[in-house]
Each structure stands twice: as structure tokens, then as C-alpha cells.
Amino acid sequence: MNYLVDRIAGVGAYALGVLRAAFELWMVFVGTIAGIWRLYGRRGATRPPGALVEQMHVIGNRSLLFIVVTVGFIGMVMIYQACLQFSRSVGDLSQIGVQFARLIVSDLGPTLTSMMLATRVGAGIAAEIGSMKVTEQVDALRMSGVLPIDYLLVPRFLASIVMTMVLSILGAAIMYGAGGLTAYLSFGVNPRVFYDLAMVEPRHLGLGLLKAFCYGAAIPIVSGFCGLRARGSSEGVGWATTAAVVGSSFAVIALDFMLSVGALWLFGGDV
């Protein structure tokens, strides 16, 4: 009986913890939006000099090789599997490229690129901010009258949105290119037949970019939240980094699901 009560109390405490964390995450998001207004909406606000460009460099340029390698390989694998599937059943591979293009633009390009970015960028942001938190640098910022969210999170947030969109476009292009190459080399699909953008319409592009925008916004918010929650010492930073990778990867998957279902409802079967 006591065991049962303990168990229920444990579940309740856990649920409360989750609710509180969700509330704090929301507050970080609201704070970041307010911070953008504080820094860029008013005249004469003191912005961290050069922080935006630096973060764009860290998040974008430094992820370039990683994105090219991982997304390139997964693009090849995806098309290989699809060709295998089609050749076993339908036997006609001429439609592969057309369908693949549509799928890359509206989903695979931004989503897989962002899954990879969630790993690299999310871990990086959480590790940096978490280290600053446990070494009291965040408190030192506060003592200097600086809001940590403005100083640390706003530049990363803006840089991440821009760079996720840029890298998603690049990732989609690389997947498409690598996919066509694989289809040609392994299954002899004529590149002229493969590289056919007939099915891609503006709304596919719009959906893809919207997804990239949302992922780019979600990754730094989740990771920054995890970093700012870090406590203790090195194990605290480790915990924060782990939570950031899992949290932002999951955010990408969940957002993809919601946006895809939303688009399906909006446009019917013609997404």
C-alpha cells in the first residue's frame, strides 16, 4: 500500500517537474522574442558587438562540412532504398526522380539537415551556455545588468534561423545531387529523367522553408533552455548537453509531424 502511494507520489512529482520545465521553456521562448525587441526594436540599445555574425559563422560555416557529409550520404542511401523498392515492385524507375524532388523540397531536405544541426548546434549551444552557467559567468552577466537571454540566446536564435534555412537549401541540393548520382550509377536511371522538377510547386518550397524556419527557431531555444538549467559542475554541463541533443532532435521530429499533417489537411492529397 505504502509502495503504491510512493509510486503515485513519484509520478505526480515527475509530472509537476515536467510541467514546470515546459513553463520555463515557454518563458525562455517569450524572453527571447522580447529580447529581439529589446535589442533590435529600440534605438540605442547596446547590442553585443559582432555577436550575430560570429554566431552565424559558428552555426553555419562550421557546420558546413558536417552537413555535406552526413546529408550527402543519407541522400544516397534514401534513393538507393527507394530504387530497390520500386524495382522490386513497380519496375519503373522513371518516376523516382520526380517524386524524390518533391519529397526533398517539402520534407527531407530541411528535416534531415535540421536533425543533423540539432545534434551539432544544439549540443554546442548547450555546452557553451551550460559551462557559463556552472562557472557563474551567467551570474556575472546579470551583475553587470545584462540579461543572459539577450546576450547569449538572441544572437544564437537569429543566427540559427538564418543558417538553418540556408543549410537546408544546401542540404536539399546535395541530397538531390547525390541521389541522382546514385540512381544513375547503381540502377542506370538517366540523369535527364531523374533531374526533373516538374512536380515541385511553390507551396512545396514554402512548406520546406517554413519547416526550416521552425526548426531553426526551436533548436537554440531548447538547447539554450537546457544550458541555462545546468547546475553543479561538469556533470551538470554533460547533463545539459545530453538533454539539448535529445530535446532539439525530438523537437525537429515533432514539428515535422505537426507541420506535415497541417499541410496535408490544408492542401489535401496534393502536398
Binding site: 544516397m76 542511401v77 515492385s89 519529397l103 554533460g238 496535408l264
Partner: protein, 258 residues
């Protein structure tokens, strides 16, 4: 000279990456040697199996559910255009079992378990606990690392099996909710079009993924330098290395078509 600087930077980076690959290979060899004869610390193994496996079930289940649903949503346009509802299960199931399921579950596993493992070993390294073990003549590889590597491999395979199942269930639910396809039709579509080979293809991959996540995360954990900042950096490096190795392994395993 910008050109000279760039070449210099590329060279430095290449040397650094080569050093990491070399270090990981050496650690892998040491792990293999420690497994001969296969003497495992039973308690350490059980503890890790529980921590890495059981505790990861919720996040893997959630990921898998959404993944299965996503595959159906992505297949929806074809299905609706061709009026071929029996294809939905085939398309979603094939993608989930062979490719998307094992990869996404492995990425989540790397984020949760691999990163956590790096952080833990890293903290032990910076607080000199590994030296403490050595001072007691306990081999940290045999005592700490081998149980973790074994636990991660075993548990990723188990989690992939569970995840595959949940993903297929998610696919059925979403097909019912979004496309209004009956459960029976989806089930029949799975049964008719998917073979055990598709499932095994994914499982082979997850074995390889588990091994690579385990070895890279342990490597970056035991080579941490410099306190809390170093631990954060190591975890970052570990998840990046694991993601790259998952993608490369996936590519080669797909081509080998095991």
C-alpha cells in the same frame, strides 16, 4: 595570405580528425582485447543495461511513433492520387524497417545514452576517478568501458525492435486518423509486402550503429581535458562523431545489402 591560411587550417583540421580516428581505433582494439577472455563485471553490466535501455524506452517510443506517422503522411500524396490504400502500409513499413527507424532511433540513442556516457566518463576523468581505479590496479577499460560498450550494443538492438513495432503502430494510427485507412488494411499491407529480410536489414544496421556510438562516446569521455568546459566540448564532439559514423555505416551497410 588567405590561401595559405586556409590550407593551414584544413591541414590542422585533417590532422586533428586523423588523431581522433586513430584514438578511436586504438580504443576499439583495447576493448576487443579486454573481451578475450570474455570476463565481464556482471553488476556493472546489469546497471548499464538498465540505465541505457529501460530509461530510454520513453524517448525511443515517442520518436518511433512520430516517425511511423511521418512516413504515412509523406506517402499520403501517392496513396491518395493512386487511390491505392494498400500501398500505404508497404511504403511506410519498408522505409521504417530498413532505413528511417534504425537511423532515427540510433540518433536519439546517441543523443541520450551516448552523450550521457561521454559526460559521465568525462566527469570521472576530470575528477581523476579513472586514475583512482588505476591506482587500485583495476583496468578502467575492462571495468568501466567494456560493460558500457556491450550494454549499448545490446540495448540499441532491443530498442530498435521495440521502436520498429511502435513505429508500425504509429503508422497505423496516423493512417486511420489522417487518411482514414482501416487498421486491417494497413496490417494486411504490412504482412503482404514486408519480409523478415527488411526487418533484419535494419537490425544489422542497429548492431553496427550501437557499436560505433559506444566506442566513440567512450573515447571522447576518457580523453576529456579541462573541467566543466571540457566535458561540454567532449559531449558535443561525441554526438557529432556518432552522427557522422552512423551515416557512413548506413551507407556502406546499405550497399553491402546485408
Amino acid at each position: 595570405m588567405i590561401g595559405e591560411r586556409a590550407i593551414n587550417a584544413v591541414g590542422t583540421r585533417a590532422v586533428a580528425v586523423s588523431r581522433e580516428i586513430g584514438g578511436i581505433t586504438i580504443l576499439f582494439a583495447q576493448i576487443l582485447r579486454a573481451l578475450l577472455p570474455p570476463r565481464l563485471d556482471g553488476r556493472e553490466l546489469v546497471k548499464n543495461l538498465h540505465k541505457m535501455g529501460n530509461r530510454s524506452v520513453p524517448i525511443v517510443a515517442l520518436t518511433a511513433f512520430f516517425t511511423g506517422g511521418l512516413m504515412v503522411v509523406q506517402a499520403a500524396p501517392f496513396v491518395q492520387r493512386l487511390q491505392a490504400t494498400s500501398l500505404a502500409g508497404w511504403a511506410a513499413g519498408y522505409a521504417v524497417l530498413r532505413e528511417v527507424g534504425p537511423i532515427l532511433i540510433a540518433l536519439m540513442f546517441s543523443g541520450r545514452v551516448g552523450a550521457n556516457n561521454t559526460a559521465e566518463l568525462g566527469t570521472m576523468t576530470v575528477t581523476e576517478q579513472l586514475d583512482g581505479l588505476r591506482a587500485l590496479a583495476i583496468d578502467p577499460i575492462r571495468y568501466l568501458i567494456v560493460p558500457r560498450v556491450v550494454a549499448m550494443m545490446v540495448m540499441l538492438v532491443c530498442l530498435t525492435c521495440i521502436g520498429d513495432l511502435i513505429a508500425l503502430a504509429g503508422a497505423m494510427l496516423v493512417a486511420k486518423g489522417v487518411l482514414d485507412i482501416e487498421f486491417g488494411i494497413m496490417y494486411a499491407s504490412f504482412v503482404e509486402n514486408l519480409s523478415p529480410a527488411d526487418f533484419l536489414h535494419g537490425i544489422y544496421k542497429s548492431i553496427a550503429f550501437g557499436l560505433s556510438i559506444a566506442v566513440t562516446s567512450c573515447y571522447f569521455g576518457v580523453t576529456v581535458r579541462g573541467g566543466a568546459v571540457g566535458v561540454g566540448r567532449a559531449v558535443n564532439a561525441a554526438v557529432v562523431a556518432a552522427a557522422v559514423s552512423i551515416m557512413l555505416l548506413d551507407f556502406f551497410l546499405t550497399y553491402l545489402n546485408v
